[in-house]
């Protein structure tokens, strides 16, 4: 009987054949060298099994992130076997007409495109103090792409949602090890019926790659990445929020501010939905040494379902702030690139900071809002550089 074990054996052999070296190099040379991960170039490998890959901030220099530079967050094993012809999406639960759709069925529905900045709720987790468990993302578990596919509401309308269908549960094909709870979450029906919520089959004009949920994924724009289930295979309408680990205790936010390090009871929390306001400096990078004169400080800023209204830069450790210039490219759920032309003639060490404000009046805080799982880090960003 063929099994994961056989597969693993094959995978190991394949890894060797493709140039990956055995683990003894890690022992001999603690400083790891690059790791061959086809389709992912220059990315930060947080974990290979499960695949968790971060975008370095210096790649935040294009409005749309090329797919090989788009961060990858998996909670489980990617599906071993995926066949576009065999793939089906079922819609059931609190509906009048349960249906099952093929990829061909989806392709017959009107296609809608949304440029969305997708950010993992845990982006920036490594910056929280005290540190909390989880993938220790730096600043790059965020990227932007044009997602395309049928609107989720068009699919839900075909199934005729009953009035009792208040929450929409997504299940993907990722494979669960041991007794780990499956990665299943739900979003409220209002968000699922929003005209921009998709069953995305394409990313930047190309079919989704495996890392990004081929052949179809949910896309809840402006919301934490966990709301956009990959390898989508089942949609189930529920009369209440899905009850499971990834709805509670995971992916929840304290109802009241928490003293760093304190525990929070699950009943004192609510599910995370839309992203916070945030900006990140893409260049110069932290620790860089640059020549005096004109220095272009640049980066990206986003605010989930809100719009970025301004990004301000400080080059004097926060004493004074000057507006940056926002880039031309914009779309409701997408980040704005920004630049700031800084002229300095005085050599020395500098702290550069960026601070975004959005259309809801939210501004990045100077200190992060600590929470037990390290979600939604959005403190004012800063890099330290040397001007020679």
């Amino acid at each position: 009987m063929n099994s994961r074990r056989d597969f693993l054996r094959y995978a190991s052999a394949a890894a060797l054949a493709t140039g990956a070296t055995p683990s003894l190099l890690t022992w001999a040379f603690p400083q790891e060298q690059s790791v061959d991960v086809p389709g992912e170039d220059g990315m930060l490998l947080r974990s290979f099994r499960f695949v968790d890959i971060e975008t370095p901030v210096e790649y935040f220099n294009t409005w749309l992130t090329p797919v090989p530079h788009f961060f990858v967050r998996n909670h489980m094993y990617e599906p071993v076997q995926l066949d576009a012809n065999e793939w089906r999406l079922s819609i059931g639960g609190e509906v009048e007409k349960p249906i099952t759709l093929s990829l061909a069925d989806l392709s017959k529905l009107e296609t809608h495109s949304v440029v969305n900045t997708l950010e993992c709720a845990g982006n920036g987790r490594s910056l929280h103090r005290p540190q909390v468990p989880g993938i220790q993302w730096g600043k790059g578990a965020v990227s932007t792409a044009r997602f395309s596919g049928p609107r989720m509401r068009d699919v839900l309308h075909r199934a005729a949602v009953k009035p009792s269908g208040k929450h929409v549960m997504f299940r993907g094909l990722d494979e669960v090890p041991g007794k780990v709870p499956p990665f299943i979450r739900s979003i409220p029906i209002e968000k699922a019926l929003d005209s921009d919520t998709l069953i995305a089959t394409h990313m930047n004009g190309q079919p989704l790659t495996k890392h990004h949920g081929f052949p179809a994924r949910a896309l809840a724009p402006g919301w934490i990445g966990a709301a956009s289930c990959k390898w989508l295979t089942e949609i189930k309408l529920l009369d209440a929020e899905f009850a499971g680990n990834f709805m509670s205790p995971a992916y929840r936010w304290p109802n009241q501010p928490v003293k760093p390090g304190d525990a929070v009871k699950p009943e004192d929390t609510h599910p995370l939905t839309a992203l916070s306001v945030k900006s990140v400096i893409a260049g110069p990078t932290d620790g860089a040494s640059v020549s005096s004169g004109k220095i272009i400080v640049h980066g990206a800023a986003w605010a989930g379902e809100a719009d970025i209204t301004k990004v301000e830069i400080s080059t004097d450790n926060g004493a004074t702030w000057t507006p940056a210039k926002l880039g031309h490219d914009q779309s409701r759920y997408a980040w704005r690139l920004w630049t700031y032309d800084w002229k300095t003639t005085k050599p020395g060490d500098y702290t550069l900071q960026s601070r975004a404000t959005d259309s809801k009046g939210r501004t990045q805080p100077s200190t992060p809002e600590w929470n037990p799982s390290g979600y939604l880090y959005n403190a004012i960003d800063q890099v330290k550089i040397h001007v020679a």
Binding site: A28, V37, L45, L82
Partner: protein, 173 residues
């Protein structure tokens, strides 16, 4: 390469227990279906894998000795390769290394542990959570496992530096 040839890679790889790289290197075919070796299929096989892992514990220890010897050998210089570090990492040396490898790396690779910087209280919660989720931890080993993780991955350790990916010469996009 030279020292690699001196090892029985087949048994070495089998002994790694967690040598289970996801098939990231197998990407879509142009027709968007995926390529798999003939007969391979999806499936969860936790208990069988565990049996397999236990059977190979002795082999693991042997492999670890071989690795240690290899790292210290005069051939070490030849081991260096400009690109292509291991797909998955290893846990640090210590009396609990082998048991931690069996308990933790069955389901995920070592980097997920290497990057954590947690207090003993937090490690205790993690170990108990993972045990609930299927990690095989002998109750007699629980405290030693927590000590091992707390000692190696405490908040005062320097931050973990993740490796970069290279596109991979075998990339099929």
């Amino acid at each position: 390469m030279s020292h690699r040839m001196s090892l029985d890679m087949s048994s070495f790889e089998r002994a790694r227990l967690k040598a289970a790289p996801q098939i990231a290197f197998m990407d879509c075919h142009p027709d968007r279906s995926f390529a798999f070796p003939k007969g391979m299929r999806s499936g969860v096989e936790g208990p069988a894998v565990r049996t397999h892992a236990r059977k190979n514990l002795a082999t693991t220890v042997a492999a670890i000795v071989l690795i240690a010897l290899s790292a210290a050998s005069p051939f070490r210089a030849h081991a260096q390769k400009p690109a292509g570090a291991s797909l998955t990492a290893d846990l640090p040396a210590g009396s609990m290394q082998a048991k931690a490898t069996t308990s933790c790396l069955e389901c995920h690779e070592a980097r997920i542990i290497l990057q954590q910087r947690l207090s003993k209280a937090a490690w205790t919660k993690e170990v108990d959570k993972m045990t609930k989720w299927g990690a095989l931890v002998d109750p007699a080993d629980r405290d030693a496992l927590i000590d091992y993780l707390s000692a190696n991955f405490s908040p005062d350790k320097p931050p973990y530096e993740p490796p970069r990916t290279s596109g991979g010469s075998s990339s099929r996009k």
